[in-house]
């Protein structure tokens, strides 16, 4: 991909192609992040679309100044996820979405993947909100520690500590599930 800073500057000047490139670069990552945070395929789809529409609206207010575009974009997704989850906790909890599978897999691997995802979604529900956020951003969307720290507004040390405690908790939960 062309230099991201240059792409963002062009997008801010209403260059459709530049914004389209940013969209293609981040669409899947944002979707994966929201899918793991929300645990529901349809809701994750709707919210992914909304993230990019919001980004389109407010791209002009983005200032580079050391803040990567990815951190800004994931921040929008993070805010939407927080709003969504806050509203959702006021309603009855929704069962895990079994449709969250990789559509390109063979039947056999799909079954394996599906089990893994269900286990993972169950396991992440036992994490704290911040731990779940770190796991989603770090391993589902593959952001660096520095980027995760920017999105969450925490220090890198705090994110590393959250990452460690989240992995330990996941390990424990997944072992119990397997037994």
């Amino acid at each position: 991909m062309q230099g991201e800073e240059s792409l963002v500057q062009r997008a801010q000047k209403n260059d459709q192609e530049a914004f389209a490139q940013l969209y293609e670069e981040y669409f899947d990552k944002i979707y994966r992040y929201l899918a793991l945070r929300i645990g529901n395929e349809m809701e994750a789809e709707d919210m992914t679309q909304q993230v990019f529409l919001n980004a389109l609206r407010s791209i002009s207010s983005f200032r580079w100044k050391g803040v990567p575009f990815s951190a800004w974009l994931f921040r929008i997704a993070h805010n939407q996820a927080v709003d969504h989850l806050r509203r959702k906790t006021k309603r009855a909890s929704v069962p895990l979405d079994e449709s969250l599978v990789s559509s390109g897999d063979s039947p056999h691997s799909t079954t394996e993947r599906k089990i893994d995802i269900e286990q993972l979604l169950v396991a992440t529900r036992r994490l704290t909100e911040a731990q779940r956020e770190v796991i989603s951003l770090r391993f589902s969307s593959e952001l660096s520690i520095a980027q995760v720290a920017r999105v969450m507004g925490k220090s890198q040390g705090a994110v590393k500590a959250l990452q460690h405690s989240a992995i330990v908790a996941l390990r424990r939960t997944m072992l119990v599930t397997e037994q």
């Binding site: 899947d28 002009s60 921040r75 893994d116 770090r138 391993f139």
Partner: protein, 317 residues
């Protein structure tokens, strides 16, 4: 504690080696023989998590989303119709307002400053704001003005959201975005001298400081109960000693005017922090109360507010 920190760093280094550099788990563990026993199960867990979370969006959804996004891109790139007074150069806008003041009296401008977006005087309110900004010489005063205008937009969003007018909420949100963007530029241009500067600015007839945003009516259905403490997006949760209260529109206009004008850097920063925390919280609290048709527009307004204030705070830093 120190050991924990060291282990956290080692764990992260291992993850980078595996995820970014493509090392195998065994290769990675060779670098840290002393921690290998503790690292191994954690790294295995991460690999399992990565494999499980590699979900892809459905192709039909991707195609539909791409099409809709392209349409939105096209709409944004299309030329917008100019707002009232928008076709005039800045000096002409100022002249037009001066003429309005002379012909209709300061009362018209004062009345316009109280108007809401569904009022016939609302365009005068917007134009007056531009004139105030254009004629204010002190940079710090410009910042205060602009921040106050942003607060006004929030008040207007609340008013129109309660009326169920999603389109108007979107239009005001665009204006809010512009105001916050201007605020970022103004704050970026602030110099040390400006931050000590508390001098008077553009004045209107009667000697009233124009920098103090004029009084606005309280929107009819504006929430009056203090909002329950709301955890913000950073996990910040105001304690009982600092309840998040809704935007209050007081004499002086908006929450800025209502709390007095910032006279120093510290006060200015505190005011920005207050608005940055309070305004999104107020809109968020409204989400449960407004009609379903307005919620998407309100969510967009919240996103614009949060992003805008984040940029303002960074510029202040």
């Amino acid at each position: 504690m120190k050991e924990d920190k060291e282990f956290n760093n080692i764990l992260d280094e291992c993850l980078e080696r595996i995820v970014v550099d493509g090392e195998t788990l065994e290769q990675c563990l060779e670098h840290y023989p002393e921690q290998a026993a503790e690292l191994k199960p954690l790294l295995e867990t991460v690999l399992a998590v990565k494999a499980a979370s590699a979900v892809e969006p459905r192709p039909e959804f991707k195609a539909r989303a791409r099409y809709q996004f392209r349409s939105a891109l096209g709409e944004k790139a299309a030329p917008k119709h100019r707002p009232f007074f928008g076709w005039l150069p800045r000096w002409a806008t100022a002249l037009a307002i001066v003429l309005v003041v002379l012909l209709a009296g300061g009362g018209t401008v004062a009345a316009a400053s109280n108007s809401m977006p569904d009022s016939i005087l609302y365009p005068v309110k917007l134009a007056t704001e531009n004139v105030q900004l254009a004629l204010t010489t002190s940079q710090l005063s410009k910042v205060r003005l602009c921040a106050g205008f942003a607060d006004r937009r929030v008040t207007e969003i609340i008013y129109m959201a309660e009326k169920g007018d999603a389109h108007e909420v979107e239009v005001i949100t665009e204006r809010l975005d512009d105001r916050l963007e201007t605020l970022v530029v103004l704050v970026s241009e602030l110099e040390a001298d400006d931050l000590k500067d508390g001098e008077a600015m553009f004045t209107t007839s009667g000697g009233e400081e124009a920098a103090a945003p004029p009084a606005e009516p309280t929107p009819p259905a504006e929430p009056t109960e203090p909002t329950a403490p709301t955890e913000d997006t950073d996990g910040y949760s105001p304690g009982p000693e600092e309840p998040v209260s809704p935007v209050t529109v007081e004499e002086g206009g908006g929450i800025w005017g209502g709390r007095g004008q910032a006279q120093s850097e510290d006060e200015l920063i505190m005011d920005v922090f207050y608005s940055a925390a309070n305004n999104p919280a107020v809109l968020r609290a409204m989400l449960e109360e407004v009609p379903e048709s307005v919620k998407a527009a309100l969510l967009e307004a919240i996103a614009v507010l949060e992003n805008g204030y984040e940029n303002v705070l960074e510029a202040l830093e």
